[in-house]
C-alpha cells in the first residue's frame, strides 16, 4: 500500500537536493545557511519517523534558529529573462498549461477513483490520504511531461524550484512551527483558561448575547491559535454547549456548524494562520507580509457579523 510516507520521502529528497544545490551556489554569500536550513527540513521528511519525539524536537529547534536568525540568504540560480519568457510563451502557447493541469487532474481522479484501486486484495493507496497521494503522482507525471517536452538540463527543475523556495524562505516552515505552538498551548491548557475567563466576564444572559459571545470568541481564539480546529473544542465547551445549546435551547447542528465557520473568519484575519496568510505573501513577492490579511479583513468582519445573525436566526 502506498501511504503518505512515500510522499514524505519524495519531498525530503527534494529539500536535500535544494540543500546541495544551495551549497554549490557561489553567487549566494549565505549559501551555507540555505544548505543547513533545507538540509534540516529534508532530514525531518526523510527520517522524521525514526528520530523519536525528542530527536525531532532538537531538529526543529535547530531549524527554527537557523531560519529565525536569518542565516539563509536568497539563492538566485540563472534563469530566462523576461523577454525570453515572453517569446517562449508566444511560441509554446497554451500547451504550457497542460503539465500544470495534469496535477489537479490527478488529484481529481484520485479523489473519485483512488479508493477503488485494489491490487491483490489490498487497497493501492492509503484510504484517508488518496487526494494528497494522487496529487504527488500528478506532480511526478507533470514533471515527466515537462522534461520530455521542454528538454531542459536535468537539474533545471530543481534549480527553478529552489528559486521559488528561497523566495518563500523561512516562512515555508512557519505553518508547521505554529502547529507545534498550538500543540503546546493544548498541552498546558491555555485554551481552556481563555474559555473560562471569557465565559466568566461576559454577560451571557440572553440567547443573542451568548450567540454573539460564542461567535466572536471563536474568531478571537482562532486568531490567537491560528487554527479554528484548536479553538472549536475550547470555545464550544466554554460557551457553545453549556449556554447557547443547553441553557438557551439552540439547535446543536446549527450552533456547531456556524460556530466553526465563525472561527474561519478569524483564520482570515491572523498572521498565525501562516500557510494561508503569510506563505502566499512570500510566494507572490509582496513587500507587505500582512497584505493578504489586510485584503481579507473586511470580508471576514462582515461575514462574522453575518454568522452571528445566521446562528441567532436559524438556531432559535
Amino acid at each position: 500500500m502506498i501511504t503518505l510516507k512515500a510522499l514524505y520521502m519524495v519531498a525530503g529528497l527534494m529539500f536535500w537536493a535544494f540543500a546541495l544545490l544551495s551549497a554549490a551556489d557561489r553567487l549566494n554569500p549565505k549559501r551555507m545557511g540555505n544548505a543547513l536550513f533545507w538540509g534540516l527540513l529534508g532530514t525531518s521528511f526523510v527520517v522524521g519517523d525514526r528520530l523519536g519525539d525528542f530527536g525531532n524536537g532538537l531538529l526543529v529547534v535547530a531549524l527554527a534558529l537557523v531560519g529565525g536568525l536569518n542565516l539563509p540568504g536568497r539563492g538566485r540560480p540563472a534563469t530566462t529573462s523576461e523577454a525570453e519568457r515572453t517569446a517562449l510563451a508566444a511560441r509554446l502557447g497554451n500547451r504550457l498549461f497542460i503539465p500544470a493541469l495534469v496535477i489537479p487532474a490527478f488529484a481529481l481522479a484520485g479523489t473519485l477513483l483512488g479508493k477503488q484501486l485494489i491490487i491483490a486484495g489490498q487497497p493501492l493507496l492509503e484510504a484517508k490520504q488518496v487526494t494528497l497521494i494522487s496529487l504527488g503522482f500528478g506532480v511526478l507525471v507533470a514533471l515527466g511531461i515537462g522534461m520530455a517536452w521542454l528538454r531542459p538540463a536535468p537539474l533545471t527543475p530543481l534549480q527553478e524550484g529552489r528559486r521559488i523556495m528561497d523566495q518563500v524562505g523561512w516562512a515555508a516552515v512557519l505553518p508547521q512551527l505554529l502547529a507545534a505552538l498550538g500543540a503546546t498551548f493544548t498541552a498546558v491548557g491555555f485554551g481552556q483558561a481563555v474559555g473560562e475567563i471569557l465565559s466568566a466576564v461576559l454577560p451571557l444572559g440572553s440567547p443573542f448575547a451568548a450567540t454573539a459571545a460564542y461567535c466572536v470568541g471563536m474568531a478571537l481564539l482562532t486568531m490567537a491559535l491560528g487554527n479554528a480546529f484548536a479553538a472549536f473544542p475550547v470555545m464550544t465547551a466554554a460557551i457553545g454547549l453549556p449556554l447557547v445549546i443547553h441553557a438557551h435551547g439552540g439547535n446543536p447542528a446549527v450552533v456547531a456548524a456556524i460556530g466553526m465557520l465563525a472561527g474561519f473568519c478569524g483564520t482570515l484575519m491572523t498572521p498565525m494562520a501562516a500557510n494561508f496568510n503569510i506563505v502566499p505573501a512570500a510566494l507572490l513577492e509582496l513587500k507587505d507580509r500582512l497584505a493578504v490579511v489586510k485584503v481579507q479583513a473586511p470580508t471576514a468582519m462582515l461575514l462574522l457579523i453575518g454568522n452571528i445573525a445566521l446562528m441567532y436566526w436559524l438556531a432559535f
Binding site: L7, G67, T86, A89, P104, F190, Q296, T299
Partner: protein, 201 residues
C-alpha cells in the same frame, strides 16, 4: 547587513516559554514540539509542486496566462477573481480541496491573469491585486469545504458533539454551512466588483 530575528525565532521562543511556564519541563516541551512538527509535515507537502511550476515559469507560463486574459473581451480583475471564487467554492464543496492552491494555481496562473486584466503598471496596485488573488483562493476554500461531508472540520465537530452526548449525521452539519457559504460569496463577490470600480479610477 544584519537583520533582526524573524517570526520563526519568536514562535520558537513562544513554544519554549509556554511549555516551561506551563510546567511541562524542558524535555517534555521539546518532545511536544518534535511530535507536533513531525505530525504536521503534510502541511508542507504541497511544496513538491515547485520544480514543475518553476520549470513552466522558466518557459513563460505566467506570461502566457497574462496574454490570454489580455485578449479576452470584457475580462476585468474583479470578474476574473469572482469567477475563480465561485470555482473554488463549488469544487471545495465537492471535496476537491487539493485541485487548486497558492503555489500551484495562484502564483503561476491566477495572479498574473488578475494583474494583466487590470492593465495597470502601478506596482502598488499590482501588489494589491496579487493579495486579492491569494484572498480569493482562501475565502473560496474556507467557505466551500464545510459543505463536503467528509472534510476534517465536519468530522471534528461530529466527534466533539458525540463525546458530549449529541449524535448527529454529517449531512445535518454540512447543510448548515450552506447559508454562510452563500453569504461569503455575496459579500466577497460584491467587494471584488467594487475593486473593479476602484481600479477604473
Amino acid at each position: 547587513m544584519r537583520r533582526l530575528p524573524n517570526a520563526l525565532f519568536f514562535v520558537l521562543l513562544a513554544i519554549l516559554a509556554t511549555g516551561l511556564v506551563g510546567g511541562l519541563g524542558a524535555r517534555t516541551t521539546i518532545e511536544t514540539l518534535g511530535r507536533a512538527f513531525n505530525d504536521s509535515r503534510f502541511v508542507s507537502l504541497p511544496w513538491i509542486v515547485l520544480p514543475v511550476i518553476g520549470l513552466l515559469e522558466r518557459h513563460g507560463l505566467k506570461e502566457r496566462a497574462a496574454a490570454i486574459i489580455g485578449r479576452m473581451q470584457g475580462a476585468t480583475t474583479g470578474r476574473l477573481l469572482l469567477a475563480y471564487l465561485a470555482f473554488r467554492q463549488l469544487s471545495a464543496a465537492l471535496g476537491l480541496v487539493s485541485i487548486a492552491g497558492q503555489a500551484q494555481t495562484v502564483r503561476p496562473i491566477l495572479a498574473p491573469m488578475a494583474e494583466a486584466a487590470s492593465g495597470s503598471d502601478d506596482p502598488a496596485i499590482r501588489e494589491t491585486i496579487r493579495a486579492h488573488a491569494a484572498a480569493a483562493d482562501n475565502i473560496g476554500l474556507f467557505f466551500g469545504e464545510d459543505i463536503f461531508l467528509a472534510i476534517a472540520s465536519i468530522l471534528l465537530i461530529r466527534a466533539f458533539l458525540a463525546d458530549n452526548g449529541i449524535a448527529l449525521e454529517p449531512i445535518a452539519l454540512s447543510v448548515r454551512a450552506i447559508p454562510t457559504a452563500i453569504l461569503a460569496f455575496v459579500i466577497h463577490g460584491a467587494r471584488l466588483l467594487w475593486l473593479d470600480r476602484k481600479l477604473k479610477r
